[in-house]
Subunit: 292 residues, 2 copies
Amino acid sequence: MVALTLVDGVLADTVPVSDRGLLYGDGVFETLACRQRQVLQLPAHLLRLQDSCRQLGIPVHSQDIEQQIGTLLSCLPPAPEAPEEGVVKIIVTRGDGGRGYAPPASVKPRVVIQFHPMPADYAGFSHSGISCMFCQHPVSANRALAGLKHLNRLDQVMASRELAAAQTRAANADPLLQEGLMFDGQGNLVEGTRSNVFVVIDNRLCTPDLSEAGVSGIMRAALLDWFAGQGVTVRVRTIAGTELPLASEVFICNSVMGIWPVNRIYDLSTDTCLTLPDQAMARRAQHGLLKL
Amino acid sequence: MVALTLVDGVLADTVPVSDRGLLYGDGVFETLACRQRQVLQLPAHLLRLQDSCRQLGIPVHSQDIEQQIGTLLSCLPPAPEAPEEGVVKIIVTRGDGGRGYAPPASVKPRVVIQFHPMPADYAGFSHSGISCMFCQHPVSANRALAGLKHLNRLDQVMASRELAAAQTRAANADPLLQEGLMFDGQGNLVEGTRSNVFVVIDNRLCTPDLSEAGVSGIMRAALLDWFAGQGVTVRVRTIAGTELPLASEVFICNSVMGIWPVNRIYDLSTDTCLTLPDQAMARRAQHGLLKL
């Protein structure tokens, strides 16, 4: 099954070349897990979408988006022709036109909503854990865009190319190598290419501060809330890359993968590998928050 | 006349929703001036395009692009139905698909080429000079992307919105307010929203170092070459925003506008204005390099 797509509420597979998403990455997106044809964490995603659009000055109504998600799901053929488990991606761009970078005086945002099948291997990685690698491509720093899941994602593309190259290199043929860790220009840990990262150092759970760079994920926020409710303090702080050898546990998360323990982290530049001995926090959150 | 567009060599006005330019800003672009149906500085633009694509790993052949520009110009109706003077925009994306950020194993780049009429007021600004303002939105810092004219342009969009807001505010109804100056997170001058910037301080011509942020413009490179040939040293260095009150001259440039002297710079946050008393370097380059 190929992806099913709605553009502005209508089944379609193109957008105008004048769309500002294409021209400038002028928009935002959300990626939601879908189980038994129900999207998960919808209110949190719609809230972030609305908030991101407000910060960028894109006038969008989350009720419209919610309605279009319903339309999309109702267009899916019954299982097994379309799978019950999938990924719903929502893209909102500022719409068409304007003279150069400046948007037109009156903006009509464009909404693209897609259903993709859930990658078959995701559930397995929750159990087995994965391997990560250090990516060389740095995350762009900008306090005014940090946290937003906007469409300027060249950093993630470039880091994902590093990951894909390592995955196909015979010497590193670890089938669990599934994510790359990204750092800012000063060498501080920011995030995975498509995930947020939690680290246990000195028995303290911490996650990178994202006020200068990175995407502030819905699952990251859910984990911060959930751990707080469990009486576990999560320190949101600058984590230097040089601290990672001190870590006893690392796990990554996003709305679609859930929580994946990290077993080892490759540093291809020095041909070394960190082994993480512990998975206690990840397993606790999987069973408590995700009810795996 | 609306824009005339070729997509992969064929007259078209849409791209697939799976285009990675839309999904991630995964591509680059060039903007060329066109006079009497001839594009200017074509070899330099094609060289930069090819070089940027190489850095991003997008396999593109500049001969194909050159051929498509020829096709586009041959599709233009005769003047006055289509103007003789225009702007040719070339967008190259990595093409369609892939699973998430990772590109597909085999990439087929997409090429979008457009002809737009030349903005009517551009020639006038070369003579009158313009006013600028300080933009609050910072330029993203990333040494691995700095210099490239890639499609991740949210920074320029956000700064252009500040400029547009100031242009429509009655209290600042200066018709020459045409550009916003952008700074990095440390307050160093980087560029204009759509231009590079040159500054004369203490009788020394200088322009911002772009190794961490900014677009390395074709006209900026041409000016650096031309001034060197004139025996004028241009210092490429970090220029703190706090140095601007010491400037005697400021001018901006790009391939379409050419060179615009800056008469004054508004700081809306303090409701103050810097006046630049001199235009000697800008006029010299206009008459020498551009043969105005």
